[in-house]
């Protein structure tokens, strides 16, 4: 009974959009917003779409590349470093790293566009020119490096925050005991810290996988998925189909079908993580009984 308002909210804001998207996926809706059902037409079209395999591979590379290099590994390194130095300095660095989270994505993207600008006025190329080298068209030469770095630097802050608080929650007696037992800093991290923050590590891996699967805003703003779909990921492809398709055709139906597939991929990934990391073991039965 008490849960009813919550259930309603969940239905309205979480479940309904998924259902609507899925249903829309079976129409050929365009800018006229007509519900013309075409059966599995969109899905057949997807299987014939010559771009889809490329975009699928792109999505996997982007998601797991960013995850492995930045969101987990780099986040962990930041957390370990900022908790190993003095509290005040560590806090300062963590706050610094969070700043891009507060700034609008467009500003963040604009800064990267300036850093990576192919002209001599970009930050990197300015440095190259100063060293007597020729400017490089960073974005079109290395689209993969660019989207992984730009997403990862901002994405690492989430892992950094969670890991840092998990590390700080480890009773210091464990760390002191390890030190007296003869552990160096690396051994302390490997034998004590990492095993004790196992759950946050798994949680961030699972959570960031899902959020990377659906995120495309920095790619859109920085490379537009280019050059020639080289850095286009699934969610961006769906967005392009829906909103910026050629000559303003707005293929909502096809885009919704693409989005539905992404939801399925996300669901499969969640279930896989759930099983793999045994999240069920983490959950304690509620202490209060609600009837």
């Amino acid at each position: 009974m008490f849960l009813l308002p919550g259930i309603l909210l969940i239905f309205l804001f979480f479940l309904a959009p998924v259902v609507i998207t899925a249903v829309m996926g079976f129409t050929n809706m365009d800018y006229r917003f007509q519900w013309n059902f075409v059966g599995f037409g969109n899905f057949f079209r997807m299987s014939d779409d010559f771009l889809v395999p490329k975009i699928l591979v792109n999505t996997l590379v982007y998601t797991f590349g960013t995850l492995a290099i930045f969101n987990v590994t780099f986040g962990l390194i930041l957390a370990l470093l900022t908790t190993s130095i003095s509290e005040r300095v560590g806090l300062f660095f963590r706050a610094l790293w969070l700043l891009p989270r507060f700034t609008p994505p467009v500003v963040y993207a604009a800064i990267w566009l300036w850093i990576l600008s192919p002209t001599r006025n970009g930050l990197l190329n300015g440095l190259r020119v100063a060293m007597g080298l020729n400017p490089i068209a960073w974005i079109s030469e290395y689209p993969w490096g660019v989207i992984i770095v730009t997403n990862g630097i901002i994405g690492a802050s989430m892992g950094m925050l969670i890991f840092a608080s998990a590390i700080k929650a480890i009773p210091r007696d464990y760390l002191w005991a390890a030190r007296v037992d003869g552990a160096s800093w690396f051994q302390e991290v490997r034998h004590i810290v990492l095993p004790l923050i196992r759950w946050p590590l798994m949680f961030i891996t699972a959570y960031q996988t899902l959020s990377l699967l659906t995120s495309y805003e920095y790619i859109l703003l920085i490379t537009q998925g280019g050059p020639f779909h080289a850095s286009e990921v699934w969610s961006l492809y769906a967005y392009n189909k829906a909103f910026s398709a050629y000559a303003g055709t707005y293929e909502f139906g096809y885009a919704a079908a693409l989005a539905t597939v992404l939801v399925l991929i996300g669901t499969v990934a969640s279930i896989a993580y759930w099983k793999m990391f045994r999240f069920r073991e983490m959950m304690a039965p509620p202490r209060i009984e609600v009837s």
Binding site: A177, A178, V180, D181, G182, P195
Partner: protein, 369 residues
């Protein structure tokens, strides 16, 4: 094994002085206790010896070698934490083996040493369990094993018994003492429990507010407390401490507070005669008072206010006006509330402290130097 010397050791945390100018020597193979109320700096001292805290000032020597800049892992120190700090993700065996694994001891050797130390503390059958499955007493033994397995030169124990129940505490007390004697390892015990300190160690260092108050064998602390703090901290039931005025009537010295009037024996004449003050604090241990039904010399007449049977004896409260005076009486004496008795304190065991809290005996000694 090693001896320890602390020289003018000071630790500050911001503006707080946790340990202030501490000088302390521990002989090779000795068992000493750091005793004091919480926040007195005893654990901070221990962590400085272990190398976890860096002293703000002063020096730490092991066997006359300065170790201020030696990392914890190179100090050959075993430390048992109050929380035991057993690594929750490792089995008991791996917990104990951890220091050896880090030292790259061959696997067979590790095996042998772990079983040896487990046998010593009788926990062989627990080696396969996780720490979370053990009782407090078992965890304590595992922590001790982990500290001992690397055969340290110095064993540091931070409140090792405070998480055990009363009965287990008494057993473990004896157990640790036995182990220490068998291994002959230099040991420092940190505790707030005077009984633990007095029963286990050869010498006790009483600390208060970061300052060492007195350092000596248990008997000495008990019989000759240097100052008011040690007098009040050591002893159970605690010493009676009464603010008194020194008066001279008919050529005899008396200590007076309200209706409490205690004539002093002549032996005190010399010691008190040198001190110009008239206000003192009198300390009398409840067990240093004889109870008599007849009038005696240097005695006071008191009325029973309250009795507390302690099993072995009875703690009797006498009231002198506002002043409560506790006496430990043997069970044979039958007494009821309102009964009157003559109380005869043992004059040689009185403790008299100046306004600064220093024992009058110390003042005499200091002047003699």
């Amino acid at each position: 094994m090693a001896s320890i010397k602390l020289e003018q050791l000071t630790k500050r945390f911001g503006k707080v002085v946790a340990v202030n100018n501490l000088n302390l020597e521990v002989k090779d193979g000795e068992f000493i206790a750091l005793l004091g109320p919480s926040g007195c700096g005893k654990t901070t001292t221990l962590l400085m010896i272990a190398g976890i805290y860096r002293p703000t000032q002063g020096k730490i020597y092991f066997d006359d070698v300065l170790v201020n800049d030696v990392a914890p892992k190179d100090r050959y120190v075993g430390l048992v934490f109050q929380s035991y700090a057993l690594y929750p993700h490792m089995k008991v065996y791996d917990n104990i083996a951890f220091p050896l694994k880090l030292a790259k001891v061959p696997r067979k050797e590790i095996d042998r040493k772990v079983y040896e130390v487990a046998k010593l503390t009788k926990i062989e059958e627990l080696l396969d369990r996780m720490p979370g499955q053990l009782s407090g007493g078992q965890q304590q033994r595992v922590a001790l094993c982990r500290a001992l397995v690397k055969e340290p030169e110095i064993l540091l124990l931070d409140e090792p018994l405070s998480n055990l129940d009363a009965r287990l505490r008494i057993e473990t007390r004896a157990e640790i003492k036995r182990l220490q004697r068998e291994l002959g390892i230099t040991t420092i015990l940190v505790t707030h429990d005077q009984v633990e300190a007095l029963t286990m160690s050869e010498r006790v260092a009483v600390m208060h507010a970061g300052v060492l108050q007195q350092y000596g064998p248990p008997d000495e602390l008990y019989d000759r407390p240097r100052n008011l703090f040690v007098a009040s901290f050591i002893g159970d039931p605690p010493m009676n401490l009464i603010p008194v005025e020194l008066e001279r009537t008919d050529g005899r010295l008396r200590l007076v507070a309200d209706s409490f009037v205690l004539p002093l024996a002549e032996e005190w004449e010399n010691m008190l005669g040198q001190i110009p003050e008239a206000s003192f604090t009198l300390g009398v241990r409840p067990e240093d008072v004889r109870i008599s039904t007849e009038e005696k010399a240097n005695a006071l007449l008191g009325e029973v206010f309250l009795t507390e049977p302690l099993g072995g004896g009875t703690l009797v409260h006498f009231m002198f006006g506002e002043i409560s005076f506790r006496v430990l009486a043997s069970r044979e004496i039958k007494m009821d509330v309102g009964d009157k008795f003559w109380l005869v304190p043992d004059q040689s065991k009185l403790h008299i402290f100046t306004k600064d809290g220093l024992s009058v005996r110390e003042v005499g000694r200091r002047d003699a130097q």
